[in-house]
């Protein structure tokens, strides 16, 4: 198939060359009756849920309750997650960055849409979209405002730009009022966006 050059700065959706080919095949096979979209979805979903955002949520919840694990996680994300056994594989270099009262972290991929898929499941559409990719670095506060996230004035915002080799996962701050909670309970509070840095974990008692 021919290579097609994409302009990465335009405000429209983008599909990689490979995604275009996959969609083309899927459409043709569906139109010709070879493939039932629902049956295809069922196969795909089985794997999506297996590696959905709950993997990331479990990692975060464990870091909140186990200081040794947290230390290991911040030192070498891929290695620490590998010791848990429930994640089949993470990218070679997954770097976990910790939110503190002084610093908020947020993850972007300015070039394409590199994403810790194994931890977070499917990347949200906005993450892959040019406006988020181009604005996150220049105007992180503006982007966060779009997500209804406002941070104290003095708080530093650090934007991490993913590459094919290095991906980032945000370790959000543990919500107040969760003392004594189990890992399972805590994991329920961890949202996908809180691990990208465009949101916070749910607060106890708030509707999920």
């Amino acid at each position: 198939m021919s290579e097609h050059h994409h302009d990465h700065d335009h405000d429209h959706s983008e599909l990689s060359e490979t995604e275009l080919r996959v969609r083309a095949l899927e459409t043709i096979l569906t139109e010709k009756g070879y493939v039932e979209p629902a049956a295809l979805d069922a196969i795909i979903q089985a794997y999506e849920t297996k590696i959905g955002p709950h993997n990331g949520a479990r990692v975060v919840a464990k870091a909140w309750t186990d200081p040794d694990f947290k230390k290991a996680l911040l030192e070498d994300g891929s290695k620490a997650i590998g010791t848990l056994g429930h994640v089949s594989r993470v990218g070679d270099h997954l770097v976990v960055v910790e939110n503190t009262p002084e610093r908020h972290n947020m993850v972007v991929c300015t070039l394409c849409s590199c994403y810790p898929w194994e931890m977070l499941g499917l990347p949200p559409v906005w993450y892959k979209a040019a406006p988020y990719r181009s604005r996150a670095v220049k105007d992180p506060r503006g982007v966060l405002a779009d997500f209804d996230v406002s941070l104290p004035k003095g708080m530093e915002i650090r934007v991490w730009d993913s590459t094919a080799e290095t991906r980032f996962l945000v370790l959000p701050m543990r919500p107040a009022g969760t003392e004594g909670w189990s890992e399972e309970q805590l994991a329920e509070l961890v949202t996908r966006d809180s691990m990208i840095g465009t949101g916070f974990p749910r607060t106890p008692g708030a509707p999920s």
Binding site: S13, L20, L29, K32, I43, I44, Y47, R89
Partner: protein, 125 residues
């Protein structure tokens, strides 16, 4: 979900990246490519030995062309095999595949970010 079909596929194609529970994917499109092959096999478009031979020659071709074959490109070869077999079995010609690929590209270009990309008649130039 067709877990048994997936199990049959991983048994027939030893090179499929997997863990204890079954195949693993690095990206959503890989799962789509995998699921399409599973479905076409169930429809009798090809047998697993036939698929394995086609995939092997695709990988050989890619290696000869300089593919490092580190595993990251596995599903690219898988996708090329799928396209090749679909064309060879008369399901859809390479021309048709190209036409739909270009239509999806057009659809993506006219879709504002954040909206689902949908294919329309107008996308076929």
């Amino acid at each position: 979900m067709s877990g048994s079909a997936a199990a049959a596929a991983t048994a027939a194609i030893p090179s499929i990246p997997r863990d204890d529970d079954g195949p693993v994917f690095r990206a959503p499109w890989e799962a789509h490519a995998f699921a399409m092959a599973l479905t076409l096999h169930e429809r009798g478009v090809f047998t697993w030995p036939e698929w394995a031979a086609a995939l092997a020659s695709e990988i050989k071709r890619a290696q000869a062309a300089g593919d490092p074959d580190t595993g990251e490109t596995y599903y690219l070869h898988w996708l090329a095999t799928l396209e090749g077999l679909v064309a060879r079995k008369g399901v859809a010609s390479m021309d048709t595949l190209h036409r739909y690929r270009d239509a999806w590209d057009h659809a993506a270009d006219r879709t504002p970010h954040g909206k689902p990309i949908e294919l329309r008649d107008e996308d076929f130039g």
